[in-house]
Every structure is written in C-alpha cells, then in structure tokens.
C-alpha cells in the first residue's frame, strides 16, 4: 500500500473541503481498503467520515425510510422499524457479504461505489429512492451512471438515502457461488404510483427492467412474466454465468420475487 494522508473529518463541511480529485472518503472501507492494498487504487488523502454523527441513523415515517450514509448493513438488517415498513430491505441487508462485511460496510459506501453486482442499488431503483447529498437530492434512476460510476462529484458526500415504502416488495438474488455477490438480483416493488423492477448483477450497472414493469403493471403475478422475453444483449458474461444464463435468471428471479411479495 502506498502512503497517504489520513484525515478524520468532524463534520460534512470539513470532509468536503478536504476532498479533491485525488482523495477518497472512507466509511466502512470494504472496497477502498482492499483496492489500495492490492495496488489497484491509491490516493493522496483518505478522509474518514465515520465520526460524523449526522451521517448515521435510521428514520422511519409513514411514507419513507431514511437511512444515514454511514449506517452499517448490520444495523439495517437488525432494524425492527425498517423490518416493519419494508421487510425486503432488511432481508437484503442481511444477505450482503458475511458478518464481518455487514458489521463494517455502509449503505452510502455501497451506493457511491455502484459495484455492478451490489445489492443496495437494486433497492434504490425499486424503492424510488432519493439520494440526499451535502448539496442536492438526486433520484435513484439518475444517480447510477454506469459500472462503478455515479453522478457524485469528488467533493460531494452522500448524507442519507430516502426509500419510499412500497405496498409490497421482495428482493431475490442468485449469488455468485464464489464471491456471493449477485450474479443476478431482482428487486420487485409495487407502489401506489407504479411498479419497479430493480435489477443488479446482470448488466454493467443497475437498471429498472421496463419490460417486466410493463408486464407486471398489467398483471402482478409470476405467470405474467412467463411471456416476457429478456434479451441477453448487454448482459454481463463471465466464468460463472453467460449472458444467456443471466438473461434467463433475471426472469426466474423476478418470478421468485413476485411470488414472495
């Protein structure tokens, strides 16, 4: 690991001020630290934001669940309030990584990193999330730009993520047998305002599967999915799953999700 300057920011303003194009914010460090250790990434400044109290915590209102950026996966997984409002979200958090990862990894880190196989981005899409940063609020569909890419600026910090509470929802994932990241993860949510099918793992970045949305809007049942054709073009392909398999699994896991709703 190359040497770097370590800063522990006391508030968001200080953290943002310290940031540059050659810095990284450190929350759980679940991606940043391994990347640095493997020599895949190096930074001049590491800005630790874990001590900023404002960034952590869970608030549940009648219509939304708001989770602070540095809230750990284990805190979401064990939150009774979230479980009551959106049980699929606590289930998702419980299925991330392993206990060590869940005890350190944060929701803000997961979303800012936008790993194509991460779980939380699918929740953001399905649950019409709004991502609140230190200077704006962004709709989830605009937030995720591409593989490991978001619309965040280098000095911008996610403060919280606000999820809409759906009428019913379920997240179903086919884990990669080696890494347990999602080969395909499908988050189906039915809101009063409409249906979302957030898909992770399948393509270079999370997306809302519009054909499934259309089919489920007509008829919210797993049999409605049977006749939808999911194209394998643009799907990821690797030693664990071909594009064709992934395309079929989007369908299979969407059906499982609808059945579990």
């Amino acid at each position: 690991m190359k040497t770097f300057n370590y800063h522990s920011a006391k508030d968001v303003k200080e953290a943002s001020k310290l940031a540059s194009s050659n810095s990284a914010f450190l929350a759980g460090g679940m991606t940043t630290i391994p990347s640095m250790k493997l020599g895949l990434a190096s930074y001049k400044d590491i800005i630790d934001i874990k001590r900023i109290k404002k960034l952590s915590g869970i608030k549940v209102s009648g219509k939304t669940v708001t989770i602070g950026a540095t809230t750990k996966h284990s805190e979401v997984a064990s939150s009774k309030d979230i479980k009551k409002a959106i049980p699929s979200l606590t289930a998702l958090a419980e299925g991330i990584g392993d206990p060590q990862v869940r005890n350190r990894g944060t929701i803000g880190g997961s979303i800012a990193n936008n790993d194509p196989a991460a779980d939380y981005p699918a929740a953001c899409i399905a649950l019409d999330a709004t991502i609140h940063t230190n200077n704006r609020s962004i709709d989830a569909e605009k937030f995720f730009r591409g593989m490991f890419e978001t619309c965040l600026k280098s000095t911008e910090i996610i403060e919280s993520i606000e999820f809409s509470i759906p009428q019913k929802s379920s997240y179903q994932k086919l884990p990669n047998p080696a890494s347990r990241y999602a080969i395909v993860g499908v988050y189906v949510a039915q809101h009063k305002t409409g249906i979302n099918v957030g898909v992770t793992g399948a393509k270079s970045s999370v997306y809302n599967e519009k054909d499934l949305v259309a089919a489920l809007t007509k008829n919210f049942s797993s049999s409605a999915i049977d006749n939808v054709k999911i194209s394998s073009s643009g799907m990821n392909s690797d030693i664990h799953a071909s594009a064709e398999y992934r395309a079929n699994m989007v369908k299979a896991f969407a059906k499982k999700a609808v059945d579990a709703c």
Partner: protein, 792 residues
C-alpha cells in the same frame, strides 16, 4: 483403566487452536529478520533475456536481490520428482530441470525469477516493483488436450510427454471385450483443483553464524523429507547443519508435501546475506504456486454381460503435470490412480494407460486422495452408466460384482487383506432410506423440482508403504515411519513421531494409543512432531499413513518399553520376567500381590541404585533409562472401503443443485477416536463435494490463471452442505496390530462420484461434466425439457 482406543477423547489441540494460540510459521519472528518478496513471471511461457536489479538495489531498505544467475553460480540444485516412472516401452520418464529461481526460461505464471530482501515488507515490495525482467514471450501450452501436439516446452521432451505408462494387460482386455454383450463408454474430465489450505505457505529462516546451522521454519507436511531434499538435491547445507521445523500447520491436503522454491532460496540466501529471512505467501501467490490437484482427461470403457457382470475395463488417460514434475507429481496419476481404477469389483481383465504431459500451468501434485479420487470417479461413473443402460438398479449391479472373500486379489496390483463390501452397501442403503427415494422424488416433482440419487462404492489403497514395494515401483525413498517413546524419571511420557499433524490431531490420537499401551494417563503424554532436531527421522504425513504406519511405530516402541519394564520389574520383584504380567500400567507377578507401577519402574531405570548397598534394579545387559524407538514398515498398504449415497434436489428454473441428504458408511477397521474420524470424513466430504459442484481451476489460452482469488474460485461453504449421516462397519486390518486403516482421504474419494451420480440421475442420465455448476445444470434441464416435449 478403560481403553482409550475407541473413545471420543476431545482433541488436545483444540484449546490452542480455538483460542488463537496456535503457533504457525508466520507467528515466528527472529530479531533482525529481513523480508523476502519474490519476483514472479507474469507470463506462462517466456525466455528470460535480462534481469536488471540495478535500480531496485538502490531502493530504500534493500539488503540484497538474488536471481537465477546467483543460484547457478552457487550450484544450488532444483526441485525434484520423487518417483521414477517408466513408460510402456521401458523408457524412463522425462523430467526437466526445475531451478529454485529461473535463469533462462519461465514456464508458468508465478514461476519465481528473483527475490528481494529488505528491512521491511513494504520496502521489499517497493523494490520488487523496480526489478526489471526482460522477457521474450512464447506461445503458452495451456490446453491439456492439445499439449502433445504443441511446441515442446522443455528442451528434449518431445510432445511434452513425461511418460506413457501402462498397467495391466492389453491382450487380456481385448479378449474380455470380445466376449462382452455390451461395451459401456465414458469420456470424462477430472477438473483441476487448487488445494487452498487455510494457512498460506510461509518460511522463516535463521542462519546461525556461530554454529553455521540453518534453521528453516516452514509450512510442511514432512519436515524430515524437506531437509533431505534440500540437502541432498539442493546442496543448501549438509543435513547435520540444517534443521527443518514445521510447527502448527494450518492444513496441507497434499499441497505442503513438496519442498518449494521459496524454502530452498531463503535457506540458501540466509547464509549468504547472514540475516534471518521471513517470507509469507499472499493468497494470490498460493493460488498461483501451490501445487494443484487432479486435471485428467479420461476415456474409459467397461465390458459387461447383459445381466450386469463385469468382464473387463480399460481407461486411457491424459494427466496434466503442469510445468514441472514434483515429489508426488509422477506417481499420483500412475500407481496411486491405475490400480484403483477397477474399483471394488471383481474385474477379470483391466488396464490403465496414462500419458502424463507438461503444460505451462502450476505443477500438479497430490491433492487429498491423490489419484484415487480420479480412479474412483472413473469407475463409479461408468458403473452407474452401465446400470442405466442395462436398466439395472445401481445397488444391484454393484452387489453383483463385489468380491465376498478376503484376502481379495484386486485385478491390477493390490492384495486387499480385509473388507466386507456387501455389509457396507447394505448399511448405507438402510441408513439412506434408499427404498423411500421414489416417494421423495414424487414430492420434489410436485414442487416443480427434480430429485436424483447417487451411489458410490469405493476402496482405496493408503497408508503408503511398504518400502520394498514402493521403491520397486519407483519411489526414491522408503516409506516406513519412526517413533521414539521416552519415559521421564518422574513418570511422564514424550512420544516423538516422524509423521506430522497439520489438522489430523496426532497429539490426541497418538496419545490415546500410547496411553493404552503404557497404562499412563493421557494427560501425562505429550506428542512431539515436526522438528528434525527432535526425535528420529520421519517420512511425514500424506496418503492417510500417519496412524497405519506412524501410529504402529509408536505401538511397537511402547511394546519395547513394556518389555524392558518387565525385565526391570522382575528383577525388582525378585521374579522371572516370564512370571510378570503388564496390565493397566502395573507389572504384576503372577499369582501374587507383588507389583510395581510403570512409573516406579521408570524411576528405577533412571536411578538404578540404593543407599548403603550396591544393588541395581537393572538386569544384566540392560542399560539405564527407559527410552525406546521403532521403525515400522508394514507388510502392505491399508485398504479402507465404503459406500456413500446422496440425494440432490435440482431447481430446473435456475439449475441450482441442493445437496439434500448425504449418507457415508465407511470401514476404517479399528477406530481410535470416532470424534476425530468423523471430523476427517466431514472435511473429506466437503472437499469431494467441492469438486463435484463448485471448485474449478481455469487457465485461459495464454496460461493466465483466471480463478486466482476467492472472487472466482468457488470453495464449498458450510451452508452448501447438509447434515452428514455417518455410519461405520468394521473389518480389522490384518497388516497391523491395531487393525486400523486410513481415514483421511476417504470422504474426498467417494463424494465426487456420489454427488455426480445423483445429479446425473436427476437429469435422467444426461451426462454433465465436473463441476455441475448451476448454469450447466440449467442448460441440461432445458434440453431435457425439450427432448421430453418431443417424446410426448
């Protein structure tokens, strides 16, 4: 005192392992140590044009940088193949030189070229980045099928062929096949595996400038053998100036049998730079450079009669050796594979033909089971295929071909001393509720799932020995084992063994044996292993040999102690040795109440005299002290056997295979500690299941390992496995006084075919290659659906 052999004594090792107090190689630090980082080839095959260390040598904290040139200048020898195998035409196998640091060419990704020693690990890493190696990259031979038609990797080794070996009689097989009603044919790939011991390899070297002795702490399954090879072939130091210590070792599975480049290089370099050296592999280095396992391509044929009798068997196999032939590399696909390929059956004629070839991949060597899993997979898959083609029940066809009389002369090599294969399969059938399968299948189908059942019956030849036989077959050393048992004057016992525990719990099992033999409480017995300065020589632990060979050496040494004790006790009690019985730690004169405990006898043996009188408890001719040793070379291998049955449930929508039930019935002869044996079976099963469903080492065309991390190499996990249903039958081995057979590899040997037979059964006989990953199974399900639709 109740016998400890047979009881579930809790592992003496667990306290330190579970409380983080194990002392592994990387826990050892020597004052003033330097840190080593190896510069490894990023190419699978290349010529080395130039190694430029000038810039790196000036880097902060660098102590020295050594290359293949230095190795050559100092005439340090390379790594070796431990077994010489002859081809069918009588010619000797062909092995390339394997210098510890490559000088002229590199032959797999990870092949070490140079090494940096620096004051800190970070400085060593930084300097390593500055070492410039100029390569001329050549086309890699990465594909096993094409290896024999590719350019020769090593000068003078045509077709990349190490040997073309035959065991058996081609003519007899031809005649048997002519008489057959039906020939069953099967093509299989035995997937390549990476052993993945939890503890990566490491070594810490301490050169003593005063005594000129090198101490090498290392992660080895056989420290004595490592010393021998490092001295005799490496020329690093004479054996008496070389001490090899393998402290707690976190798993080996065969990958730590070999002496590796790093140990030779660091031992040699420590003397050269007169500084201690520490090297610990990173996980990627483990993936790239630990010896891999399996990797065969086999075509097998089984000749049968219409009523399911086997007439003959043959297999043509290409085995991947990787870039170089290592210690067990050449024997694993031959004598550890060929003889077992006819399985537990009466097979009137058979042969195994194996071509071992070099490729630009990591060396392939013994991995838990070593040859026997590949053999068992071949025969058990083809037997199942035969049952299917003949419309027979898989249990029925096996029963029909089992031997029922022992000793049983197995077709190709082995004289199996004992066994009862019928009893084992019957017990497995009952424990697995085989007859209830049809109902469970129906239930799965009602949920839209497929269910399959798989059966395997296996035997294996382990407890590798006797020396005259293995040396006749080409082994470079004798495979006996030694023990020394020392009574202290105050009554505790230290047992020294030449075998090595890297998870096998010798400290418990061996203490149980010694406690029974000597009548001493187990708490008073310590087992010492893994240090060439402590105890006699040893051959180490692999091939399930610790108990059947090393354990018996302990028994024999204990018996010598008891014999000497008898003579001393007789003299002390003024009786004849013939009148003295030894039981529960006491020497008792027959028909009297005169007795001495073994502790009293030990005390007397060390303090042989009394005040005011010239009187010794020692009979004439006996020396003071109570220490005995034994070298045990058994009369034969040991032959555990068993039958396993498993059930899988498949989700045709996703291809996910759920391992639902697993029953294993094994015959390990006498079981010393059921708790430990069950643990061995559990671990073995997990690895065998790993091969069947998850694990697969893959190289791309350019010879890059594309499964070089846990992100891509799938290990089996606890939540992939069902509760194992274990049972045992017992026929005692007749070749050792305890009646024990090896148990360490059985699970790995049987599990892979058992699971695959179940998966293929669920798929109505549709062949699928190892490992049965979700996507492959999903595709098979889709095709099945299509063909069923057509049929309807």
């Amino acid at each position: 005192m109740a016998s400890l052999v047979g009881s579930r004594v809790e592992r003496k090792e667990d306290k330190r392992f579970l409380t983080g107090k194990g002392r592994y190689t990387s826990d050892i630090n020597i004052a003033n140590q330097t840190y080593a980082i190896f510069i490894r080839s990023p190419h699978a095959r290349a010529k080395i044009k130039k190694v430029d260390t000038s810039k790196a040598l000036k880097s902060s904290g660098v102590v020295d940088i050594l290359t293949g040139e230095h190795i050559a200048q100092d005439k340090i020898g390379g790594l070796i193949a431990g077994w010489a195998i002859r081809s069918e035409d009588g010619s000797e196998m062909k092995c390339p030189a394997n210098p510890p640091l490559a000088k002229d060419s590199v032959n797999f990704v990870g092949d070490p070229v140079a090494v940096v020693f620096a004051e800190t690990l970070d400085e060593a890493k930084a300097a390593a980045e500055l070492v410039k190696v100029d390569y001329k990259v050549l086309k890699a031979v990465s594909n096993l099928v094409e290896a024999m038609d590719s350019e020769a990797i090593h000068d003078g080794i045509d077709k990349n062929l190490c040997y073309d070996w035959l065991l058996g009689d081609r003519q007899k097989v031809k005649e048997a096949f002519e008489k057959a009603d039906r020939i069953i044919k099967l093509d299989i790939t035995n997937n390549r595996l990476i052993p993945n011991a939890m503890e990566p390899r490491a070594c810490v070297i301490d050169y003593n400038t005063a005594s000129e002795e090198i101490t090498c702490y290392t992660t080895s399954q056989n420290p004595h053998l490592s010393r021998l090879i490092m001295s005799a072939f490496g020329g690093v130091a004479p054996e008496n100036k070389l001490r090899v210590v393998a402290p707690d070792v976190g798993g080996g599975f065969g990958s730590k049998i070999n002496l590796y480049n790093e140990e030779i290089v660091c031992s040699w370099a420590s003397k050269k730079i007169e500084r201690p050296i520490k090297w610990v592999a990173e996980r990627t280095e483990s993936f790239l450079t630990d010896t891999h396992g399996r990797d065969h391509i086999t075509h097998a044929e089984l000749a049968v009669t219409n009523d399911g009798k086997f007439l003959g068997f043959k297999n043509e196999t290409i085995a991947n050796l990787g870039a170089y032939a290592r210690v067990f590399g050449t024997v694993t696909p031959t004598y550890l594979f060929g003889p077992c390929a006819t399985g537990v059956y009466i097979m009137p004629a058979a042969y195994s033909n194996v071509k071992a070839v070099y490729t630009n991949t990591a060396p392939v060597d013994a991995y838990r089971g070593a040859g026997r899993p590949e053999a068992t997979y071949t025969i058990e898959r083809i037997v199942d295929k035969a049952a299917m083609e003949l419309g027979m029940d898989p249990i029925e066809i096996r029963m029909k071909n089992f031997p029922t009389e022992f000793p049983f002369k197995q077709t190709l090599v082995h004289q199996i001393d004992s066994g009862d294969y019928v009893a084992g399969l019957n017990k497995a059938k009952e424990m697995a509720d085989y007859d209830g399968f049809a109902a469970r299948k129906k239930e799965s189908e009602s949920k839209g799932k497929l269910r399959g059942i798989g059966v395997t019956s296996y035997f294996e030849a382990c407890g590798i020995a006797p020396s005259p036989v293995v040396m006749m077959l080409g082994c470079g050393v004798g495979l006996w084992e030694s023990a020394e048992v020392r009574f202290n004057p105050t009554g505790q016992v230290t047992v020294y063994t030449g075998s090595h525990s890297h998870g096998q719990s010798h400290q418990t099992t061996f203490a149980q044996i010694a406690a029974d033999e000597l009548g001493v409480p187990i708490e008073n017995i310590d087992v010492v292993h893994g240090d060439t300065d402590k105890g006699t020589f040893g051959m180490g632990t692999y091939g399930s040999r610790s108990l059947t060979v090393g354990g018996i050496a302990i028994v024999n040494a204990c018996k010598k102690i008891v014999n000497k004790g008898k003579r001393i006790a007789a003299k002390m009690l003024e009786a004849s040795p013939d009148e003295v019985d030894f039981k529960n730690g006491e020497f008792v004169v027959a028909k009297s109440n005169k007795k001495k405990t073994i502790g009293e006898v030990a005390f007397a043996s060390y303090l042989p005299g009394v005040r005011d009188e010239v009187k010794s408890p020692l009979p004439e001719g006996d020396e003071p002290g109570l220490i005995e040793s034994s070298f045990f070379d058994p009369a034969n291998f040991s032959f555990p056997a068993g039958s396993h049955i498993c059930e899988v449930e498949i989700d045709p929508e996703t291809g996910h295979v759920k391992l639902d039930k697993y029953t294993a019935v094994d015959d390990f002869g006498t079981i010393v500690n059921p708790l430990i044996v069950e643990g061995q079976v559990h671990g073995g099963l997990a690895q065998g299941i790993g091969q069947a469903l998850y694990e697969n080492a893959q190289y791309d065309d350019s010879g890059q390992l594309i499964t070089a991390s846990y992100m891509d190499y799938t290990m089996p996990r606890a939540d992939d496995l069902p509760d194992f249903n274990l049972g045992f039958t017992c026929t005692k081995a007749t070749t050792n006084p305890l009646g024990v057979k090896g148990c360490g590899e059985a699970g790995t040997i049987a599990a892979t075919p058992t699971v695959m037979n179940a998966v293929i059964n669920a798929l109505d006989g549709k062949e699928i290659s190892l490992p049965a990953t979700a996507e492959k199974v999903w595709k098979a399900c889709k095709e099945m659906k299509k063909s069923n639709a057509k049929a309807a």
